[in-house]
Symmetry: C2
Subunit: 321 residues, 2 copies
């Protein structure tokens, strides 16, 4: 540690699946001082030196306290997930849209615009009747979740044009493997599959064997988020929004890769596809992320590596608890 002042990064949603790993990685790399916040109390194994404030991100007094120290950068992960957002649109607007707008205004600094990394989502796209999603695909959300994310992106890009912040909105694909606990994510079955097969359990897929999705391991997601702290502004698109690279894979191929990894030869997976789930969460076209790749963002490379990254992560989590 040198005498130079560390850059302070504010992480919201810091006790969540991605947030916890982001905080760990920020502390591990040693160049950042971290202020962390989440609706949940501090995780038991909070790394030393992290300033942690529990509270509702849409609460004005929490935001004031969070910003009492100047943030050089923000990683805004706090979100009401898609399934929960559909059930409570008012809460979804408050948390996913309004709180994001206010937070960005609070950290605004014309003299030194902070990098604002926003966890957006591929829910901003429609994925059916689309040949491919690429850098020119316009947003077309159907879920409240995706609509609020797309609207927040517009706001962050506008503040960026005004010189108030320096936004990078990352449209996250399916991140695996989320913990088994109910996450409010309708797409959680893609994660549940890993947990089921890891423990040798049976799995009933709510989508068909040929259903496709876009996946990224949590490990690689965290690397991408930290990379976004340092990405060259001048090379970013004017919208400041990028879909993260992800592997497009079919359910049957993913099952095979997991079973290969686990050394299983039994048939543990059966299929009971539901039309609505298949349409929204299992019909993903090719994803072409040239701009994000040119900026140095990465997916897991291949299915074998994705599965290896996911199981290494699950092992690490088990060791921690």
């Amino acid at each position: 540690m040198t005498g130079a002042k560390q850059k302070r990064v504010l992480v919201t949603g810091a006790a969540g699946f991605i947030g916890e790993a982001v905080v760990d990685a920020l502390v591990a790399c040693g160049v950042y001082a971290v202020t962390a916040t989440d609706a949940k109390p501090a995780p038991r194994r909070l790394p030393e030196g992290v300033r942690y404030l529990a509270g509702d991100i849409s609460d004005v007094s929490l935001q004031t306290e969070l910003c009492s120290e100047k943030a050089d950068a923000v990683i805004h992960l706090a979100t009401l997930p898609s399934g929960a957002a559909e059930k409570d649109p008012a809460a979804a607007k408050r948390i996913n849209l309004d709180a994001t707008m206010v937070l960005a205004e609070r950290v605004s600094d014309q003299a030194s615009p902070p990098r604002f990394v926003f966890a957006s989502s591929i829910a901003v796209y429609t994925t059916h009747n689309v040949e491919a999603v690429d850098d020119d695909t316009p947003v077309a959300p159907e879920l409240f979740y995706g609509a609020h994310k797309a609207m927040a992106e517009v706001w962050l890009a506008a503040l960026t044009r005004r010189g108030a912040i320096d936004a990078v909105s990352l449209r996250l694909p399916g991140i695996v493997a989320r913990p088994r606990a109910p996450s409010g994510m309708t797409s959680a079955f893609w994660s549940d599959l890993f947990h089921a097969l890891e423990s040798g359990g049976r799995f009933v897929s709510p989508v068909s064997a040929k259903a496709t999705t876009w996946l990224l391991s949590r490990r690689r997601t965290v690397e991408n988020i930290l990379h976004a702290l340092e990405t060259d502004s001048a090379a970013m698109p004017d919208s400041r929004a990028l879909a993260l690279p992800a592997l497009r894979c079919a359910m049957a191929d993913l099952v095979k890769a997991i079973q290969n990894h686990a050394g299983q030869d039994e048939e543990l997976v059966s299929y009971a596809p539901a039309e609505a789930v298949e349409r929204i969460f299992g019909s993903y076209p090719p994803l072409i992320t040239k701009k994000a790749r040119a900026l140095g963002f990465h997916d897991d490379g291949d299915l074998e590596t994705l599965v290896r990254n996911v199981f290494a992560d699950i092992e690490k989590q088990k060791a921690k608890t």
Copy 2:
């Protein structure tokens, strides 16, 4: 009048420059029953049969009362204009974004989605360093006003995809000639020019002689808004947003057309261009509105007709008061 039930149209911003003329036109064509609302009290010459409710559009109880009768269509014009929005971003969010979102949810009807015509703005675009604006130009707002409009468009399109409403967002160009009264519109000088020359007064232009803008007469604007009530949904772009056709003209050409019309040969106009005003309100590239034209929307055709339409409108207004 037949015994058939009239379609009820809810008009917000109904006492404003555009709203007043929209209400007149709706009543004149005889096929619509009108509920009108505005922050201002009812205009003195409110056409007979119009249900008028004065109040703040962001007020929940007003919205409840407005929606006590089922609206078959909505023309949502209520807005805090650009200059005022820059001065009070919180009020701008409440009126231009939040109230729009709530109103659209309130009138939602899955069984019979109401047409929701939204007065968006060309402020959703950036106009500098752009070769042309066309149907594929992405939004890139710099003003709070344009950012909130772009965000509202995303919301209305999402509700449309969900089958809750049937949105048409019209991106309005400069509408002439707004009344002289302070309107909160930074771009009001394009209107002031008409009034100054009409009365033989002098005019100091805050932009240069070669400054360009996009103009549409109020008369033609109202025709386009009424046309949007009946536009074929299937032919609309997925974003449900369209820039209205407009004449692109240079300040010097507009001055000439007005003076030709008024029979003036004196030089009444001098130029004192301000860099910021020229950049934001006087540097408009070509505007190509193929989709809107294919759907039957129109500009004034040529500058002479625009000027004639504007002065006919000014005369009509004078006769009314």
